[in-house]
Subunit: 332 residues, 2 copies
């Protein structure tokens, strides 16, 4: 079959324990014997079997990543952040898309435990008690990325969604907009709830009326942005600005409005959310709320490595900063 540690030991005239020490960088090996062993490894083209190692050491150096949809730009960018840091710390990634389906999420988590992952990064719409229970019962650390657990029991990395939307609405109100449409993400996640609350509270704060007609339930697609534009432009009391829960929907809104002859930003201001690469791939370029996706992924993975090494973490509910980047879909 394939070359094993035993073959190397024989060739180098040492015991397999010594070979094991060499491949694991254990310092208790005389330099000369280390050389011998290395030579044997070279010669035999020995490649350690990670599965056997995993069984013996009870560590697989692999982490599970559960993601709603890898073909979604937003999550793909997060995944890239996760991966880069994982690579840096020598972890491998087992990646699965859940389509935000509860049972599938739970199943995937279970499968990953069977594979003996050392930890998992979870991304999803909402965290139920079932999730928390599953995470707690397992004895591997779990970190939520761009996903909030309202009970605050699971370590997580996010931005402050409520205040992010608040900032965007403030911005608009200051510019004189009184009627601002909001295109939400239909998935009823606690993140979306925070956003909607932020949106409504800001109007109340400014003593402005909150018109429920001004909230359109989108589904995070470009198409639903287009529909939203049509919906809003059909209203008797049209909004003068539209805020969306994602950049992709914002592009839809811009094009939907433009198709109707509405001038952006003169007749309608648009603000997106996320600052994906899409935001500069449109005319006018999109003003948007920056959510540092790559960083969220990277920080999540970094946090997980700390948890894996039992380093102490001062804060396991990380909130990364957000900001608004002004481009041409809003005036001035």
């Amino acid at each position: 079959m394939s070359v094993t540690i035993y073959d190397v030991a024989k060739k180098a005239n040492v015991s397999m324990a010594t070979v094991s020490r060499v491949i694991n960088g254990n310092t208790n090996v005389k330099p000369t014997t280390r050389k011998k062993v290395m030579a044997a490894i070279e010669e035999l083209e020995f490649r350690p079997n990670a599965v056997a190692r995993g069984l013996a050491s009870r560590k697989t150096t692999s982490v599970g990543v559960i993601i709603p949809d890898i073909s979604n730009m937003f999550f793909a960018e997060l995944a890239r952040g996760i991966e880069d840091i994982a690579t840096m710390y020598n972890y491998h990634i087992i990646l699965s898309s859940s389509d935000q389906n509860l049972n599938r999420e739970l199943d995937l988590f279970d499968n990953m435990l069977e594979k003996q992952v050392d930890g998992v990064i979870f991304m999803g719409g909402s965290i139920s008690e079932e999730h928390v229970k599953a995470f707690n019962q397992s004895n591997v650390p779990v970190v939520l990325a761009a996903t909030v657990d309202e009970s605050n029991q699971v370590p997580s990395v996010n931005i402050d969604y409520y205040s992010a939307i608040t900032d965007a609405v403030h911005e608009l109100i200051e510019k004189g907009h009184q009627k601002v449409g909001y295109v939400s993400n239909s998935i009823d996640s606690s993140i979306e709830t925070s956003k909607v609350n932020g949106y409504q509270d800001t109007f109340k704060e400014h003593k402005l009326s909150v018109d429920s007609n001004l909230i359109y339930k989108g589904d995070d697609t470009y198409q639903s942005g287009i529909k939203a534009a049509h919906y809003f432009m059909d209203l008797d009391e049209k909004p003068t600005a539209i805020l969306t829960s994602s950049d992709e929907m914002a592009l839809g809104v811009i094009h939907g409005a433009q198709d109707l002859g509405v001038k952006i930003p003169d007749e309608l201001a648009v603000i997106g959310f996320d600052n994906t690469r899409l935001s500069v791939m449109v005319r006018p370029e999109l003003t948007t709320v920056v959510q540092p996706m790559y960083d969220i992924g990277a920080v999540s993975m970094r946090l997980l490595t700390k948890l894996l090494k039992n380093e102490d973490v001062e804060e396991d509910q990380v909130i990364l900063p957000h900001r608004i980047i002004k481009r041409s879909s809003t005036k001035e």
Copy 2:
């Protein structure tokens, strides 16, 4: 520690072999004992250890996926196709981004072999002899997805890039365009070479001159599309149509040209490549060559499963069909 097959055996008053048979769906088990065992599994919340199973059976039911960049829409879509089929056949995916770097690709491949993956799907710019050698020396099947190996030694799934570009150029020439700019992908892969050849050959075929000034070396980004538009519009003999090697660059070209006051498609026709979701997220909507990314991923994975099960495959160099979808960035 955790519950093992042995604990279950004791609880159910059977041998571990029987438990093993039950969890592996072996039919040689009396229904009543199967029930007993199932009950014990339930009660103890037994979860089989995939690592131990992998060591004993020499199969891990996981496949490695080497991808240039998961945050690139094109590859993310491929990955989704791969993943869906992998899930269907109960394989897990170990995913790593290579950034198209040869050494990293080779390293990743090696790491995956250490992890004892059952097979790997490889995506990358170009396949060198080193790649082929590494693939052949391993004893796991490898399938290339949207990646061509000119030596045809490695199973692969692609479209016919040469003829895809040819079709696009024909289309343009038929519409009367004599000067057609081409924005290439700088990465010197054999796919890009096929495309450039297809582009040039078509002009020769029509007895039209091939002007090397009409080829702009892009780098697959939106920005390079913008630059390409500026470059072309600055030429004395401006092209009346531009073909790009990817949709993202096509969007750049459209916007770059529009920023310069050029009307699309009246003064300049634009054709993209891939038919990513981007192609409808622009005005005018983009005419493009359809490359079925999801399908390429799915078919690659399906092919790999066949290879893994030693089913015979009639053809291991799969060419999927392509077509042109006409939208509004070209006339009529």
